[in-house]
């Protein structure tokens, strides 16, 4: 292979664009024309279909739900009885958890309640967490987990944190159980699996808020509804993980199970699930993390605790308090993440060592002793207030100081970017008529994946049109698109650098790991702190939340460039820069594209959260629907977000596949 061959071969893999260049140019010109035409030249229906052509999906959904709640009956009992009963049933474990961790055993309700028995003393909880840390991961993890919980006590977040924790210790196991059962059913019954998979796909793309609304409608406002929402949000990965894990059980093990004469039930419970345990535990970790991710969102429909604190402080723009509670969520998230990961990683080894019984016995004894002591020694029961440290004033002052001294700088930056980037792009996007956008999307689908993909994406693109959400959708595309571009521009170079230099990666990896552990909401806090509300703030929060996959995939792609190709480059005398430009980046491009795809998904899921800072897109629509409990409207807006997500996912996926196919062709040919 000669240098010239490299020159021509790799850019040649962009060949699929060539026959379409004219079309692309044409679309660009049309877009520009649409942008430059004065208002009113294009007929109004290109922006908003007249009412008689729209589908009243939102009113139908609302009516259907209303009928369900008000009129539906199964003869003996009504649908409402059913949901009530369900809520009451779920309330039992939640009540128990809350009593143990937070309120103590109460008699009566509200402020007139009398405490019959106090909750667990803080020392007991910190001790248990540290002991678990020790058992799962040695003294380092004990220190981390115990320290995290100690932090919650010292910094005055204990009460809220325990409320949040009690919701998680119920929601996560329930989500795991539901996910596991669904996954097993999907594995056993292929038909069921074909139904479950697309639903899971959809649930992953519909923003969380959208399904808060029907839950609110069915179960009312309160901790139980919030817990159900958390469960529904967190269970899907468990379903997927379960199906994949069962599928991944080595064939010989399944055959052994059969030859041993297991019944179908024994096969699942005694052979396959235990054999798949390490993979299943990965799902457990995901469920826990997603439950935490829901903490703030769930507080919108009645969950108390840290999420509620963050939400109320954000609404009051009380930066100090918000930051304090947000940090507490982060601390809790990190502790639970590391604990569950260590649990998963060491499960088999601990089985071999045994000693579970003495451990549990010791733990129980410790809890009992501290509990009894706490009855007589108050500081053991609750962390003394005098020793608490509140960082809220510090944060408030810090932000004040920053704002006093740097307000002009921040404001200038913000105004500059708003005027020169955000607003022009926004005007451009808002000027695009839907027939043109649908045509462009369809054309891209056709070039990348053929007629079927084209039909799918055009169909999805028309959904917002016929449901009358076009303007909000374009607003969403604008905010999301620009955030993704910024995230990619920041993330990909960092990723490439990390891919090239293992030393840099050692710094980058934990940073993006942490970015991905944090609940999406907390990104809003510093953004709001420094830039107040508005599109710029929203963009900043989205970029922070969504940048991690761009970094990770880029690094991964660069690292996995075949050494053979690199050596070929070196032997041809490529400089490091040349080989990066002509070999590594082009070969890694499919992987980089997949990273961008993930970034798009995260950006879209962050969207609704940024509605809190006053964006005017689909997210805002969902949020408003939530406050008015307007199920139909919320779901329709949510489905529009899902439509954008699916279009982006399929198009980028198809492009990556196409590129990868050409790349591997090029590699084989060498």
């Amino acid at each position: 292979m000669t240098a010239a061959a490299v020159e021509t071969k790799i850019p040649a893999s962009a060949e699929w664009m060539r026959p379409g260049r004219v079309a692309v140019l044409l679309f660009a010109v049309l877009s520009l024309v649409a942008f430059l035409l004065p208002d009113g030249v294009l007929p109004a229906w290109t922006r908003q279909l007249p009412a008689e052509f729209r589908i009243g999906l939102d009113t139908w959904i609302s009516a259907a739900l209303k009928w369900l709640v008000e009129d539906a009956t199964f003869g003996l009992f009504t649908f409402k009885d059913l949901t009530r009963g369900f809520a009451q049933l779920l309330n039992v474990p939640l009540d128990i958890a809350t009593s143990i961790l937070s309120t103590g055993l109460l008699d009566g309700r509200g402020s007139s309640a009398i405490q019959l028995a106090p909750p667990l003393p803080w020392i007991a909880v910190v001790g248990v967490v540290a002991a678990l840390g020790y058992r799962f991961g040695g003294s380092k993890l004990a220190l981390l987990a115990g320290g995290a919980f100690l932090y919650l006590a010292v910094f005055g977040q204990w009460a809220s944190a325990m409320l949040t924790l009690s919701s998680i210790v119920v929601a996560a196991p329930l989500g795991i159980a539901v996910g596991l059962a669904t996954g097993v059913a999907g594995y056993r019954v292929p038909l069921l699996r074909r139904i479950i998979t697309p639903i899971l796909d959809l649930m992953q793309t519909v923003p969380t808020f959208a399904y808060l609304i029907p839950i609110l409608f069915l179960f009312g406002f309160g901790p139980v509804a919030a817990m159900i929402a958390t469960m529904i949000y967190a269970a899907p990965p468990m379903v997927r993980v379960t199906m994949a894990a069962l599928e991944g059980v080595p064939r010989e093990i399944v055959e052994y199970g059969t030859m041993a004469g297991t019944t179908p039930r024994q096969m699942i419970t005694k052979v396959m699930l235990p054999a798949a345990r390490p993979q299943l535990l990965v799902g457990v970790n995901q469920v826990i993390m997603l439950s935490l991710n829901m903490v703030i969102i769930a507080s919108m429909i009645g969950a108390g605790g840290l999420g509620f604190d963050v939400l109320t402080s954000l609404r009051r723009l009380d930066i100090g308090r918000g930051l304090e509670a947000g940090l507490a969520i982060v601390v809790l998230a990190i502790a639970l993440d590391r604990l569950s990961q260590a649990y998963a990683a060491g499960a088999r080894k601990r089985d071999a060592e045994g000693g579970l019984k003495p451990f549990l016995f010791g733990l129980a004894a410790f809890v009992a002793v501290t509990y009894l002591l706490a009855l007589f020694v108050p500081p053991i029961a609750t962390y003394p207030e005098a020793l608490q440290i509140s960082t809220a004033p510090f944060w408030t002052d810090a932000v004040k100081w920053i704002n006093v001294n740097f307000f002009n700088v921040f404001d200038a930056v913000k105004t500059f970017i708003l005027l020169n980037l955000l607003l022009p792009v926004k005007r451009f996007m808002m000027a695009q008529p839907w027939p043109l956008v649908a045509a462009m999307v369809g054309y891209a689908g056709w070039r990348l994946g053929g007629a079927r993909l084209a039909a799918l994406v055009v169909g999805l693109a028309l959904f917002p049109v016929v449901t009358g959400q076009w303007d909000y959708t374009m607003m969403t595309v604008y905010l999301c698109g620009i955030s993704v571009v910024v995230a990619a521009l920041i993330g990909i170079p960092i990723g490439i650098y990390g891919g090239l230099s293992p030393r840099a990666w050692r710094v980058i990896e934990p940073a993006i790991d942490t970015l991905q552990t944090l609940p999406s909401f907390v990104y809003l806090i510093p953004a709001v702190m420094l830039f107040r509300v508005g599109d710029f703030t929203a963009m900043l929060a989205i970029v922070l939340y969504a940048v991690a996959p761009s970094v990770r995939y880029a690094a991964h792609g660069i690292r996995n460039v075949p050494t053979m190709l690199m050596e070929a480059g070196t032997s041809m005398g490529c400089t490091q820069k040349q080989s990066l430009r002509h070999i590594q980046v082009p070969v890694a491009l499919p992987t980089i594209l997949l990273g961008i795809n993930q970034t798009v998904m995260l950006a879209l899921s962050m969207l609704v959260i940024t509605a809190l800072v006053g964006t005017r897109d689909l997210g805002q629509q969902v949020y408003m629907a939530l406050t008015k409990a307007d199920t139909g409207k919320g779901l329709v807006a949510g489905l529009c977000v899902a439509a954008i997500a699916i279009i982006a996912d399929r198009l980028i996926g198809a492009a990556a596949q196409k590129l990868a196919a050409q790349r591997s062709g090029a590699v084989d040919a060498t």
Partner: protein, 343 residues
């Protein structure tokens, strides 16, 4: 040991591809290769007929991908055959209900797997006791036999280890112990020693022979190694592209391979371990003196040195002690030299 067939299959087929059952129904019990190919079907097992006798070690061998595993899985109905018949102790296995199959497998079949297939979450003891556990036996009822089996395979002291703490050879001992705990009538072993390194493999083969001397199971043993087949097998079936091309004792295969494929397998076979005195003897000349007597069944390797060193031939005696022929130096040499083996 009575000589009745325990496991019989007739015209057994396993086809992969589009609508294999319909194809087989249309083309009768023995479709041609051309018809198969044009239908886009792959035959993992093609028209296999076998009869495995009680108490024998029946070896199935062939190159990788020749369909050995598929055949043995059809015999135990781990894989549903596309067509044909499988009779297990006179019962039509392919008509057995799921409940019958579970019963059969719990009591009459045992299987050992190439990659051990131990349950990773169970200790050695629990792995061995597992077949009893799923039958619903209590802890004490199942642990006693499990400990006995563990002792039988020489793993005492390892009862509470988990599989990942054992070496490959030890893991396969667990696999063997657990497949024998139900005292099965038929014992399937799918390349049980292939994943082990040569020294351990040899040791395990010896173990296996020792066990069989005690247990006298009916065994279906799969291997792709002709030497192993010769060491353990009473009879060997050679497979090629799903078909059984020849069945016979090691000696029959080496002496009279049906085709080049079989000949290729047997070419490097250790002939001195395969040929017996009976098969290389000649009729004695009248009045020929003999230096001694050799049993007819003993292998060349065992008497080669003796015959070599002697000027006179040795007499060959049948079980009744009657002389039925003689072996001389030349006969022995031709076996040794023909195999290219040093004496």
């Amino acid at each position: 040991m009575t000589n009745t067939a325990t496991l019989v299959c007739r015209n057994l087929w396993k086809l992969y591809g589009p609508e294999p059952e319909r194809f087989l129904a249309k083309h009768g019990p023995s479709p041609t290769e051309a018809a198969l190919r044009s239908a886009g079907l792959v035959s993992a097992v093609a028209d296999a007929s076998l009869s495995i006798e009680r108490g024998e070690i029946f070896v199935i061998m062939g190159l990788s991908g020749s369909g050995k595993s598929t055949l043995v899985r059809c015999l135990s109905r781990l894989i549903e055959p596309t067509g044909g018949e499988v009779l297990f102790e006179g019962v039509d296995l392919l008509r057995a209900s799921p409940a019958d199959l579970i019963e059969l497998r719990r009591h009459k079949m045992g299987m050992v797997f190439q990659h051990f297939a131990l349950l990773p979450h169970l200790s050695v003891l629990d792995n061995v006791a597992f077949p009893l556990e799923i039958r619903g036996l209590g802890r004490s009822e199942r642990e006693k036999p499990a400990r006995e089996m563990i002792e039988l395979v020489g793993l005492q002291g390892r009862e509470h280890n988990l599989p990942y703490q054992l070496s490959g050879g030890q893991q396969q001992r667990v696999g063997i112990a657990r497949s024998l705990i139900t005292d099965p009538d038929v014992w399937f072993l799918d390349e049980p020693f292939s994943a082990l390194d040569p020294l351990i493999r040899r040791e395990m083969q010896n173990e296996f022979m020792r066990l069989q001397d005690q247990l006298h199971k009916t065994i279906v043993f799969i291997t792709h190694d002709f030497e192993e087949a010769v060491r353990v097998g009473d009879r060997i079936a050679i497979m090629r592209e799903g078909r059984i091309v020849q069945v016979g004792t090691p000696e029959e295969l080496v002496r009279a391979p049906d085709n080049d494929y079989v000949a290729e397998f047997t070419r490097d076979a250790p002939r001195s371990k395969i040929f017996s005195a009976r098969s290389i003897m000649r009729a004695p000349r009248t009045g020929e003196a003999v230096a001694g007597v050799i049993p007819a069944a003993s292998k060349v390797r065992d008497f080669a040195a003796k015959v070599e060193a002697s000027e006179l031939p040795f007499g060959v005696a049948n079980e009744a002690g009657e002389q039925i022929g003689v072996v001389d130096r030349r006969a022995v040499m031709s076996i040794l030299v023909g195999a290219g083996e040093p004496a």
